[in-house]
């Protein structure tokens, strides 16, 4: 894969290479954050100065099915030693799936100094770079943030319904089997927590992982991303887009691609996603 700055991205500064991380990881204004799907992975080894953010423990409020509030975010950032000026570099397992999710949550609090390490944890490992088990002891800070912004990068069900009725673009990033409704009865869970299988009417299906090179986990160059989303899914450059999946985590990866790599100005992630829409009384679906 060519260097990040040669891939034609709208905002190449949102991605950094593993070599950049190796070179800059000890810079005082850089904070590395590992965020994984697998809760055991960080403890088996991580980049020496990386702290861990665990979605279910650190970013999620399970009682309200919401994210942490301003006070919670301020406490989290203070604990991991970040200031408003800190550039947070996320990386993680599974092609940065949960790393982009964490970055998306950070965007709700206006922490725009946030990047992704291209290729994620696996690329770092594949390059023979070292991992360590000791947890870094970064000095605590006092972090203050603005009120959480649930409008710019996030959308709720009523907004999705209006978006759908206006025939604006929806990208369903789940697997084709989930999109068609074929996957209805997995063992123990009917359709991953939803009563109905299918998709939001008008949505285009572009599984999230198609945006990365499966061999390296790196994001595809802009030309190939445009083929995927604009030629394949017929998105119009710059149009308003809502992304969704099952709970909003896979779709945050596509949100990152459309917003930062292709530069779409108005991309929102529907974190209620199919676990809400598939159960919502009166909400139309297609199969």
């Amino acid at each position: 894969m060519e260097p990040i700055e040669q891939r034609g991205y709208a905002n190449p500064d949102r991605l950094v290479s593993t070599q950049w991380v190796a070179d800059h990881r000890n810079d005082p204004d850089i904070l590395l954050v590992e965020s994984n799907e697998d809760p055991l992975l960080y403890s088996t080894g991580h980049i020496d100065v990386a702290v861990e953010i665990d979605w279910t423990r650190d970013l999620n409020n399970p009682l309200t099915r919401d994210y942490l509030d301003e006070a919670g975010f301020e406490a989290l950032m203070s604990r991991i030693g970040a200031t408003r000026e800190t550039t947070v570099v996320f990386y993680g397992d599974r092609n940065n799936w949960w790393a982009t999710y964490a970055l998306w949550v950070f965007s709700l609090f206006g922490h725009e100094r946030a990047k992704i390490m291209d290729g994620g944890r696996q690329k770092w490992v594949d390059e023979g770079r070292p991992l360590y088990q000791s947890v870094p002891n970064r000095p605590k800070t006092t972090y203050r943030c603005p009120p959480r912004d649930d409008q710019t990068n996030r959308v709720f069900r009523d907004g999705v319904l209006k978006h759908m009725q206006e025939r604006k673009a929806l990208v369903d990033v789940r697997s084709p089997e989930e999109f068609t409704g074929e996957r209805l009865h997995m063992p123990a869970y009917p359709n991953e927590g939803a009563l109905r299988g299918g998709h939001i009417p008008g949505a285009k299906n572009v599984p999230w992982a198609k945006a990365v090179d499966p061999a390296t986990g790196e994001f595809l160059p802009a030309t190939r991303l445009r083929e995927l989303y604009e030629t394949g899914a017929r998105l119009q450059p710059g149009e308003e887009v809502v992304t969704y999946c099952r709970i909003g985590e896979r779709s945050s990866h596509t949100w990152f691609v459309l917003k930062f790599l292709l530069g779409y100005p108005n991309v929102r992630n529907y974190d209620g996603s199919w676990t809400e829409w598939g159960n919502l009384v009166g909400a139309p679906i297609e199969r």
Binding site: D38, L40, Q122, E192
Partner: protein, 138 residues
């Protein structure tokens, strides 16, 4: 202790630990994980042996007189490796079919309730697949 009671004892012990201790114990199991022997199954593993809904690309096999054996294809699937090792170590030989009696909530007792829905589903499907294999072997 092997068998169902041994697994339940392990679950009880893990529930009494704090998060860091639990993670340390589970990663110890993950390090002990041994994939299905090559004389039982080789790569590429048959699709019919794939655990459904498991993002870590886990395959499950029943080995007569031995029990369930897993292959975890995702090198980052530490939780899947830990669960594979736990099940393989507890249900071996004459006690292998006791796995059919494992309660569904065992995943939460072993790993805690802070799992993502996708992760918990994948692990629960590993248990469900192992139980189905044991049931068919009886």
């Amino acid at each position: 202790m092997e068998g169902l009671q041994g697994l339940l004892d392990l679950a009880g012990a893990l529930e009494s630990l704090d998060r860091a201790e639990r993670i340390e114990t589970l990663t110890d199991y993950a390090r002990r994980y041994q994939p299905v022997p090559e004389d039982v199954a080789g790569k590429p593993y048959p699709e019919r042996n794939k655990v459904p809904g498991c993002e870590s690309e886990v395959y499950a096999f029943w080995v007569p007189d031995s029990g369930v054996r897993f292959a975890v294809e995702n090198r980052q699937g530490v939780s899947a490796m830990a669960l594979a090792a736990i099940l393989q170590e507890h249900f071996v030989g004459p006690r292998s079919t006791e796995i059919a009696q494992v309660p569904d909530e065992i995943v939460y007792r072993l790993f805690g309730r802070e799992l993502s829905m996708g992760k918990s589903m994948g692990l629960m499907n590993m248990v469900a697949t192992a139980k189905a294999l044991a049931g068919a072997a009886k």
